[in-house]
């Protein structure tokens, strides 16, 4: 069989984190009863007119700068005309002729450690559509315009990716960059980041592209990987069988792990794009650009280098912490107080991640204060609480409302470091567990663990475990 190469380009929609919609003052907040976040503008009432939300231009420019794009200093909005009830004007305000950003690129890391440049063709601003709700019992449909007019940017890559892994690396990079900018939370499951995959295959070494398809409805990285593998195989089968690939838009069904054709090129619509006469061209001034540039944060790559140099953390730790700006911010703030980078890192990577996963939260949802974490580290360093108690305190402060010292006091978690009190308990434990004592003395070193546990239990967890072990060994070895 011939060897095939997969060629992939992505169209990524990102919902911007503005408080209000792109062309009116309505809230972008998720949820809300149908059609409660609406006004004459975002419901397409006759006579209403759009007014651009400047914050959208700020975010789009920031993302463009972060992805090495040229910023179009005079850009315009165009109307994309198509009839569908989720689109109240029957045209979407978007950008075709003069998108705000062009000719960018991001570098992704490949598995072998090398980097690859993925080029960005353009980034444009546009409005989201409303949502149709079909009532299957009554055979009617309803429209909810709460999402209508929510600002989006569409990031269009060049066909530079060759595998699902590269696609995921590219998306991860975009997501991380945009999250660092605070321009979006980029949640695939909730639809604030959506990727359409344009894919074709060709024989290895070929210079011409094959016929491509566009895959929609990809709601997770794993769905994207599965869809890419599936589509690659499907296209190779078609080519091998001599049938050939049809240019079309397909929809992925992740439960059934297959895709079906939505529309082919033949019934592709003519969107009759033209500049929206209700909006004036946007001129991006030097001052505006300087302002956005000054506000750009230190991104992941730069942070990683610095963390290595400044804190000497292991690569794994650095990778994990810088994966989210929120985590990195908390890390830096906590280290600034307690000056113990490795311990802070451990708390963030182990306990924080565990709790987030358990509560199905994202790192942006973290509420605890760096001061509180620093204090827990200090308390353990001074042997005032033991590590089990520390975990309990951390769980308590996680929602940001509890003070660690108060919690330790209220729950009597202060570690017993008084050797006299400990010695009495340890002697009692030795007397009560002759079998384990015999095992230990007979050479079973592990038996000491049981005795430590018994002592801790007797002390209600408040004993200093190091001290307990030391005392046990001392008494047993004598």
């Amino acid at each position: 069989m011939k060897e095939y190469e997969t060629v992939i380009g992505l169209e990524v929609h990102v919902e911007l984190a503005t408080k209000t919609k792109i062309f009116c003052g309505c809230s972008t907040e998720f949820g809300g009863a149908p059609n409660t976040h609406t006004c004459p503008v975002c419901t397409g009432m006759p006579g209403s007119l759009p007014v651009l939300n400047k914050k959208v231009v700020e975010y789009a420019t920031a993302v463009g700068l972060a992805t090495n794009c040229d910023i179009t200093r005079d850009c315009k909005f165009d109307r994309k005309n198509y009839f569908y009830p989720d689109n109240p004007q029957n045209y979407q305000i978007s950008q075709l002729y003069l998108p705000i950003c062009r000719n960018g690129h991001v570098d992704i890391k490949l598995e072998d450690g090398s980097t690859k440049e993925i080029r960005i063709h353009e980034i444009h601003m546009e409005e989201d559509a409303g949502k149709l709700i079909h009532d299957e019992w009554e055979d009617v449909s309803f429209v909810d315009y709460n999402r209508s007019g929510v600002p989006l940017i569409e990031i269009v890559s060049e066909p530079d990716m060759r595998s699902a892994k590269e696609v995921v690396a590219y998306l991860t990079k975009l997501r991380n960059t945009i999250q660092y900018l605070g321009a979006s939370d980029c949640k695939l499951q909730e639809g604030s980041m959506r990727a359409d995959v344009n894919l074709s295959v060709r024989e290895k070494g070929a210079t011409e592209f094959g016929t491509r398809t566009e895959m929609k409805n990809l709601n997770s990285f794993s769905a994207i990987e599965r869809a890419i593998e599936n589509e690659r195989a499907r296209q190779i089968d078609l080519i091998e069988s001599g049938e050939g690939v049809t240019q079309e838009t397909r929809r992925w069904n992740d439960d059934k792990e297959y895709s079906y054709a939505m529309r082919s090129k033949e019934d592709a619509q003519d969107y009759r794009y033209f500049p929206d006469p209700d909006l004036v061209p946007i001129h991006i001034t030097e001052e505006f650009l300087d302002e956005i540039k000054a506000k750009q944060p230190e991104f992941k790559d730069a942070k990683m280098l610095r963390y290595k140099e400044e804190f000497g953390l292991p690569d794994y730790d650095i990778e994990q912490i810088t994966d989210s700006k929120k985590l990195a911010d908390i890390f830096e703030a906590t280290v600034a107080i307690c000056n113990n980078p490795k311990k802070v890192s451990n708390w963030l990577i182990a306990e924080t991640m565990r709790i987030l996963k358990e509560r199905q939260l994202d790192s942006v949802d973290i509420k605890f204060k760096p001061e509180a974490l620093a204090r827990i580290i200090e308390l353990t360093d001074k042997n005032e609480i033991n590590s089990n108690a520390a975990k309990e305190v951390f769980e308590a402060i996680f929602d940001g409302e509890v003070d660690p010292d108060d919690y330790v006091k209220e729950h009597g978690l202060k570690q017993v470091n008084d050797e006299g009190a400990l010695r009495a308990t340890v002697e009692q434990v030795i007397a009560n567990n002759p079998q384990s004592v015999a095992d230990y003395k007979g050479g079973k070193e592990k038996a000491i663990g049981f005795l430590v546990g018994q002592t801790m239990k007797a002390m209600q967890g408040k004993a200093n475990p190091g001290m307990v072990t030391k005392l046990l060994k001392e008494l047993l070895n004598n």
Binding site: F83, P85, F274
Partner: protein, 482 residues
């Protein structure tokens, strides 16, 4: 006192001095509507009760000193493409025949704030597409000067209402001449301001880059006063422009000494009715006698204005009218089979032939493969036309010419030949393409008894020049009895 023959500012003065009241004026207008509407058909909607209630409120506010402006208490009419809260707004189309807006147009709000009282909504060509007010779903409006003739359009209802004393003044909208041409045909004054001067918020769009709201009045003074009331920057309209000076009434000065007036030879060529030509040139003479410097010049590109206009306006209209689909408001076909069939039937039933023609034309010029050849080219010609005017205004303060090639045509004679109808816009549409202000006022009476209109065009933001010239001419001309 013969209230109906007063101008708006005369009426307001009489109300404020206690000689009459806003309610009496409204009652007089409503009585006039009752007697002549069956013949004229200037209105789509008249809400008597609301109008009288608002007039009563205006009287109270005048008495309490809250309302002191020159339009306080004046009954006015609004073209039916401007949204009026809780009042039917149809664009004279079946597709909006049941549409009641939830908000009012910015221009209407400002006019009401100035104390004017809305009588109702005037008839128009459907979606402002037409030059005769014959494309209305509600039937044609007749020219009050001769009811066998059209009033012009698309603001024909507004022009006819003012001419027939069914309103003291009215608002119209002008995309290619839709205020100035019916004003000319009906023998009233109409002004299209510089693009961006009056907010378009609440104006149901036809050609968004060309549409502009303006007054139709009995005299130049009323025209300036209404413009004062409705002009202003509006944050809700991105194309609205803040201006340094708004006091248009300051330009009501009877003095044109030294004013440079250019007469484009291109406006006096083939197709111009000799009677119209004579009356317009006579008006130029009047201004010259008052001290203006009048000379002829070549404007150029006049022949390109019509195809350019119909390409751009139709393109924008094809998109602007997409929202009328039966989903959210307006007419929806009673029976249909699925979504696409609902769209098709609703729009086939809801739009009249002229609207359909322009939607098709506009969709065609925007379609893939034709965009560059038609729409983009039209935009380039538009820029050239603007340049030609820029050059003219480097030399002249005002450009003077006719409003239309003829007086008002007979009812039923225009729609059969749409191209001919489109050609009659030749003197007005380039003003919209170049975003300029233009005023139209009566300058004579043809042998058929119909009014002849004079058009004065100014440079962008120079309404002061055309108002001054129009006012000076009006003072010299005296009254014309139609």
């Amino acid at each position: 006192m013969d209230l109906l023959n007063l101008t708006a500012h005369e009426l307001s003065a009489a109300i404020k001095s206690g000689e009459t009241t806003a309610v009496e004026a409204m009652e007089a207008v409503l009585k006039q509507i009752e007697s002549s509407e069956s013949e004229i058909n200037a209105y789509v909607t008249v809400d008597k009760e609301a109008a009288l209630a608002k007039a009563k409120k205006a009287d109270e506010d005048i008495k309490s000193g809250k309302l002191t402006g020159p339009l306080a208490g004046v009954p006015v009419a609004i073209k039916d493409n401007m949204c009026t809260k809780d009042m039917l707004t149809t664009c004279s189309s079946k597709i909006l025949s049941n549409f009641v807006p939830t908000f009012s147009s910015e221009a209407v709000i400002k006019l009401e704030e100035a104390g004017a009282v809305v009588i109702g909504k005037t008839n128009m060509d459907e979606f402002a597409m037409g030059s005769t007010t014959e494309t209305s779903f509600y039937g044609a409006t007749k020219n009050p000067r001769n009811t066998e003739h059209v009033p012009g359009g698309s603001s024909g209802g507004s022009a006819a209402a003012v001419a027939a004393n069914e309103a003291f003044a009215a608002l119209g909208s002008d995309t290619g001449g839709s205020i100035r041409q019916p004003a000319g045909y009906c023998g009233v004054v109409g002004l299209k301001p510089t693009y961006g001067t009056v907010s378009r918020y609440g104006l149901i769009a036809y050609g968004s880059s060309l549409d502009q709201i303006g007054p139709l009045t009995k005299d130049v003074t009323d025209c300036a006063l209404i413009l004062d009331a409705i002009a202003g920057k509006d944050d809700k309209d991105s194309t609205s422009i803040g201006r340094e000076k708004y006091n248009f009434a300051d330009s009501l000065v009877d003095d044109v000494k030294g004013m440079k007036i250019g007469i484009p030879r291109d406006y006096f060529g083939e197709g111009l009715d000799p009677e119209v030509k004579e009356a317009v040139l006579k008006a130029a003479k009047v201004l010259e006698e008052k001290g203006a410097i009048v000379e002829e010049f070549d404007l150029s590109l006049v022949d390109y204005a019509i195809p350019t206009y119909y390409t751009i306006a139709a393109a924008e209209a094809s998109s602007n009218l997409e929202r009328f689909d039966g989903v959210k408001y307006g007419h929806r076909a009673a029976e249909y089979d699925g979504l696409h069939n609902m769209y098709k039937k609703t729009r086939s039933e809801g739009f009249g032939p002229e609207v359909k023609r322009r939607i098709m034309l506009g969709s065609f010029v925007l379609s893939s493969g034709y965009y560059d050849a038609y729409y983009l080219k039209a935009l380039r010609v538009k820029a050239l036309i603007k340049k030609a005017f820029d050059e003219a205004f480097a030399k002249y303060d005002v450009i003077l010419g006719p409003v239309a090639p003829t007086t008002a045509p007979k009812l039923g004679s225009s729609l059969a030949d749409p191209i001919k109808m489109y050609l009659s816009d030749i003197y007005t549409i380039s003003v919209n393409l170049a975003s300029l202000p233009g005023i139209s006022l009566p300058c004579g009476k043809a042998s058929n008894g119909l009014p002849i209109g004079l058009q004065l065009i100014g440079d962008c933001y120079r309404e002061d020049n055309i108002i001054r010239a129009a006012y000076a001419y009006e003072c010299a001309r005296g009254e014309i009895k139609f």
